[in-house]
Symmetry: C2
Subunit: 239 residues, 2 copies
């Protein structure tokens, strides 16, 4: 089943000094070409204003040659998923996003379309988080409470988007990202977490996974030293 999946998970929609999706444009085009996509179903649930968010995304994707439909514009969200050529779930608040996917009964339809039918799935930030095993490793504030933190499970591990290394000059005493992830891994049975730096992209085709994009990733596993993976590295062992 899982061998049909085609997934592109962006750490962030933007990197410093460039416009929305600019750094990712060629990666998105390359990825969607293979499935001959003309229209993308955009899921704006991670932010409050769905129209505004969809309009923001529409411009850059139109320039790449894709029409964009906001899922909230469709008469029926489940039917929109069932007929989508490709799905793009944008960033924002991960809790709000996952809660809305559960509230609207969209989990199973998305899983079916991606894992069985093999339509392309693109996620960015919160949209990458919800594609994984769970959102236990989001950076976001729990502004709402979804029924569970279990997510779409399109890949069997977790992601930490916007991964950032410890700044030795910082005077801030809040936990570092690495400390937070190591606290997660103190809990028995937790999956590996791929810390995607801003600009890093995880590309999955069936049972092959690779780091692409413009920056690398750091992998955290319970009881192990974190390990660096660079652009171009194969991380299929995570699948």
């Amino acid at each position: 089943m899982a061998s049909a999946r085609r997934i592109l998970l962006l750490s962030s929609s933007t990197v410093h000094g460039s416009a929305y999706l600019e750094y990712a444009a060629t990666f998105i085009k390359d990825f969607l070409k293979k499935s001959d996509v003309k229209k993308i179903l955009f899921v704006p649930y991670a932010l409050k204003d769905h129209n505004d968010y969809t309009n923001k995304v529409r411009g850059p994707l139109k320039e790449l040659g894709y029409a964009v439909e906001g899922i909230h514009e469709a008469p029926n969200a489940i039917e929109a998923i069932k007929s989508a050529e490709a799905i793009y779930i944008g960033g924002g608040n991960t809790f709000q996003l996952l809660k809305t996917l559960y509230d609207l009964n969209l989990i199973q339809p998305i899983q079916d379309r991606v894992l069985k039918d093999g339509i392309p799935y693109i996620g960015s930030s919160a949209g990458s988080n919800v594609a994984t095993a769970s959102i236990n490793t989001t950076n976001d504030m729990p502004i709402v409470w979804p029924p569970t933190l279990t997510a779409l499970g399109l890949v069997p591990f977790n992601i930490n988007p916007h991964y950032i290394d410890f700044d030795p000059d910082s005077k801030h005493k809040g936990e570092t990202r690495e400390e937070r992830l190591s606290q997660y891994h103190e809990i028995p049975g937790t999956p590996p977490v791929l810390g995607l730096r801003e600009g890093a992209i995880l590309h999955v085709e069936g049972n092959v996974a690779k780091i692409i994009g413009v920056f690398g990733a750091k992998l955290f596993k319970p009881g192990c030293e974190p390990k660096e993976y660079n652009v171009g590295d194969d991380v299929s062992f995570l699948l």
Copy 2:
């Protein structure tokens, strides 16, 4: 009932360049003097290693003249709360802390001791978060799943500990703290959030609340511009 409460909520246990609780030492002594406290019941549930954490806290508090008992060392946690002279809940992971308080049925006993009996409550970071209406405005990762985000409600608003202003030089594209809090306030019915900068302390005596410590706070309310409060300012209107 609430007029009995005596509460000291620290944004953080430490500020840059000083040892554990060092910046807060005189505030803690002043606060506990009034209740003639000799022994503090320490709640280490926000971190995994309870012994290690309690030992870390014991030294600095012993220097201030207090004996420290770890709640996990007591034969019965509920009885330990019932007989405590003062409670100190330390920082770590807020989700783990709140889940453990629920798992061990300690919510009501702590509420009773603080709101009815008037014993002093000290919180730091996660321990300050759980003292408020809810932990919806924690900065922590949801590494475990408490039954609800509703917290002790010793005060009727929320806190964001380790509050940090936007750094205009940052290249990081993750949401700023202020953006995260404003996303929270887009949800109807959410309470005010007091962003306590590291070094800021909220001191509550009955129906009087004041900012003390070495740094100020920023107050966020739905539909309002954030407002600064400095050390010495009265914020009793929040109660």
